[in-house]
């Protein structure tokens, strides 16, 4: 079967994550595929994006003559402001995150365990760059969605019984969207359930490429 015809592309994974957005949500998007969620916000709903360096209401990338070095997102990219934008300092920004005021965060991951643990900040033996705001986000935001490839570049499952890499957070993930399927759990005491398959993907294929225990 043509690899392109089966499963979801990066943009389709982002679009699937965007279907979890609700009108009025305040949302934090991680770097990589999660950033693409901003291009897929369903019509008719208003979502406010938070940038942890101190901004609510992130606008699109600026036109060349609008570029402002004092206006960047958490990925240090230049952005623009909206008419409803507000700015604040890092302590208030993370008080917002840690205080449970952000409705949803979408993050990438290297591994997710069947108990909802996530590892996405360091690989032993490689240069450690730091966790940035990832540990605060997974510990504080109401709902956490992971968007990641179902298997690593080497073909190893990434949704596994126990994380092998250093954790970013313990028992914090609510939903996992991969190029093959969607797993979800209603609360942090329940197991993940396979709730959706990408086009052309079978339950058997998901089972074969997943070592974590989950409910079908």
């Amino acid at each position: 079967m043509d690899a392109q015809a089966k499963g979801w592309t990066r943009d389709q994974m982002a679009a699937r994550a965007a279907r979890e957005l609700r009108d009025g949500y305040y949302v934090n998007l991680g770097i990589g595929i999660p950033t693409l969620v901003a291009n897929n916000i369903p019509e008719g709903i208003t979502v406010t994006l938070q940038s942890e360096n101190g901004m609510l209401g992130i606008g699109p990338f600026p036109y060349e003559d609008e570029v402002d070095p004092d206006l960047i997102n958490a990925g240090k990219q230049t952005v623009s402001e909206l008419d409803r934008t507000s700015y604040f300092d890092s302590a208030l920004s993370f008080a917002m995150i840690r205080g449970g005021h952000i409705d949803l965060a979408v993050l990438g991951a290297m591994e997710v365990s069947e108990k909802g643990d996530i590892a996405n900040w360091m690989i032993p033996g490689k240069m450690i760059k730091g966790m940035g705001g990832a540990m605060d986000l997974v510990a504080g935001v109401k709902k956490i969605i992971v968007v990641m490839e179902h298997v690593s570049k080497g073909g190893e499952p990434k949704f596994i019984p126990e994380c092998t890499l250093p954790l970013t957070g313990k028992n914090v993930i609510d939903m996992i969207i991969t190029d093959l399927c969607v797993f979800q759990r209603p609360d942090h005491d329940s197991p993940f359930k396979l709730i959706e398959l990408a086009p052309g993907v079978t339950k058997e294929e998901v089972h074969e490429k997943t070592t974590a225990n989950y409910v079908e």
Partner: protein, 240 residues
């Protein structure tokens, strides 16, 4: 009491000591106290511990202090984008305490507010929790959760970049350049601020002061600034 100094070197006179702890504002290269960093490089003070979200890049920001080997330890959340940092860190020449970004901001805020420690969920169950007190508390939904004790930062010196100040030391910041500058300013025994413009008192709206003058000990006009951008991302104008 006059807070305004002619330049960064004068503003730091008598404040720098080997082995001191400095809290620095800035996020990436946005809102970094670059004049003060240059003056610290020039002073030759060494064995510094610096609490700053990032460590600059190779030739900008705190990267300059790393190149001259004046830093013993960084307390940071993210240190990518810096080759010299990587080299010193891998060679064991530089100590790094990785601190989650929100924990770092709160540690500065707490220190500035006279709070020696606080419990947070951030980092519970991870390497960040190692060696720290762990305690269960009910969360806002009444469910028991695990929290860890983090310490407030009491810095010897805070170095901060603002946008405008008045002569009394009230400071405003601009857009996302506020970031760590505000919490850093509050946690220093002495706080030195560089701004782009110093105005006579009465020119700033009292309702729009971000950093009240009580936190500002010394002030300089560091203009003109050539602010650097790490990642210039643009959109194209489409024909109407």
């Amino acid at each position: 009491m006059k807070k305004i100094y002619p330049d960064a070197k004068a503003a730091l006179d008598g404040l720098l000591n080997d082995g001191m702890l400095i809290a620095a504002g800035g996020f990436g290269l946005c809102g970094i106290p670059e004049r003060l960093i240059d003056a610290i490089v020039e002073s030759g003070v060494k064995e510094l511990t610096i609490a700053s979200n990032n460590a600059g890049i190779d030739n900008a920001g705190l990267g300059k202090l790393l190149r001259t080997r004046q830093v013993k330890k960084m307390i940071s959340s993210y240190v990518g984008e810096n080759k010299e940092f990587e080299r010193q860190f891998l060679a064991g020449e530089l100590e790094v305490e990785f601190c989650p970004q929100g924990t770092l901001a709160e540690r500065m805020r707490a220190g500035g507010a006279g709070i020696p420690g606080f419990y947070t969920r951030t980092g519970a169950g991870t390497v960040v929790a190692e060696g720290k007190e762990v305690k269960e508390f009910a969360n806002s939904d009444g469910q028991k959760e695990t929290y860890i004790l983090e310490r407030g930062i009491f810095a010897d010196l805070a170095i901060v970049k603002g946008y405008q100040a008045d002569e009394s030391g009230n400071v405003t910041f601009r857009k996302t350049a506020r970031n760590f500058n505000l919490p850093a300013a509050t946690c220093g025994k002495t706080c030195v601020v560089e701004v782009e413009e110093i105005l006579p008192v009465g020119r700033l709206d009292p309702d729009c002061i971000h950093l009240p003058s009580i936190y500002v000990n010394r002030l300089i006009d560091g203009s003109p600034y050539e602010k650097q951008i790490e990642f210039r991302t643009l959109r194209e104008r489409t024909a109407a």
